[in-house]
């Protein structure tokens, strides 16, 4: 090691700042700020998830109310058609077609609710992801 290298090494070793109480206090304030922000973020995250869950539940309830009975009716008609097809050969049931049209109408009516529920789900997921980040 040359004289200069030794000089450089010792010069670097000499510099060590003395402890400063003000510095520690500033850091602890910074840490407290971070913790407060984290608490707010967590609260927002929980609120977002709860809102999404409530909106989804409401959406599902509305959808079920709007065409749940139709769905059951169609399912029943389809079951009957299948049973009929098995027992009496290829005769298309007009009743099943009518039930299908009814379902489409119900779907149109329930579309708003579906969109609302999907929007709430996506919004909740985005809020959750943003809070995680």
């Amino acid at each position: 090691m040359s004289n200069f290298d030794a000089l450089l090494k010792s010069s670097f070793a000499e510099i060590e700042e003395p402890a400063d109480a003000g510095f520690s206090v500033n850091v602890s304030h910074g840490v407290a700020r971070v913790e407060r922000a984290a608490k707010v973020r967590n609260a927002a995250q929980i609120a977002g998830v709860l809102a999404a869950a409530a909106a989804t539940a409401w959406g599902l309830y509305a959808v079920a109310g709007a065409f749940g009975q139709d769905l059951l009716a169609v399912a029943g008609a389809e079951f009957a058609r299948l049973q009929n097809a098995i027992s009496s050969g290829p005769s298309m049931s007009a009743a099943a077609e009518t039930a299908g049209e009814g379902l489409m109408q119900s779907l149109g009516l329930g579309l708003t609710h579906i969109l609302l529920a999907t929007g709430a789900l996506v919004g909740g997921a985005v809020a959750y992801r943003a809070a995680q980040d």
């Binding site: 200069f4 000089l7 450089l8 090494k9 010069s11 670097f12 000499e14 510099i15 060590e16 700042e17 003395p18 402890a19 400063d20 510095f23 520690s24 500033n26 850091v27 602890s28 910074g30 840490v31 407290a32 971070v34 913790e35």
Partner: protein, 185 residues
Amino acid sequence: MASRGLLNLAQATEAALIIAAQAKDQAAFGELVKRRQGWARSLLRRMCQSHAEADDLAQEAFVKAWERLRDLETPAAFPGWFRRIAVTTFLMAKRRQKAVFEEIDDASPIASEDSTPEAAAGAKIDLEKALARLSDAERLCVTLNHGEGLSHAEIVEITGLPLGTVKSHVLRGTEKLRRLLEPAT
């Protein structure tokens, strides 16, 4: 942790403080800051030209360390881990100021070389003043190489600069320091 006395905190090993801080014990982290601030501030003061800026960056680095402390796998790795955070904080601040670290100017003189009384008189000056006359990139690489004992490869890893650039900054920075620090002949 709330019942722990100040005496215990002061007597705790650094590893114990880090483990407690990882469990969100702010008092333990405060003690860790108290113990490590001298090193952290001097590291950043060597890299920055202004003491106030260095202290601001050191505070920012400690707050970042608090946020990421759970990522630290072993307490023994704390110095290297924190050094990386400090250097990243410094680089981000400099990049916000549009500082360029990748370019090497072969003709770059020592800043204010001819305008200072010490230089004019050929007097030996102290390290801090000498470092202040290097470019940001040279100061960073020289500090990490000579001050922190990192190899060129380690500096590449920590700064993201190309190896050739790091070698050049260290070489040129060291040469400038030699001219500034060695007594005039």
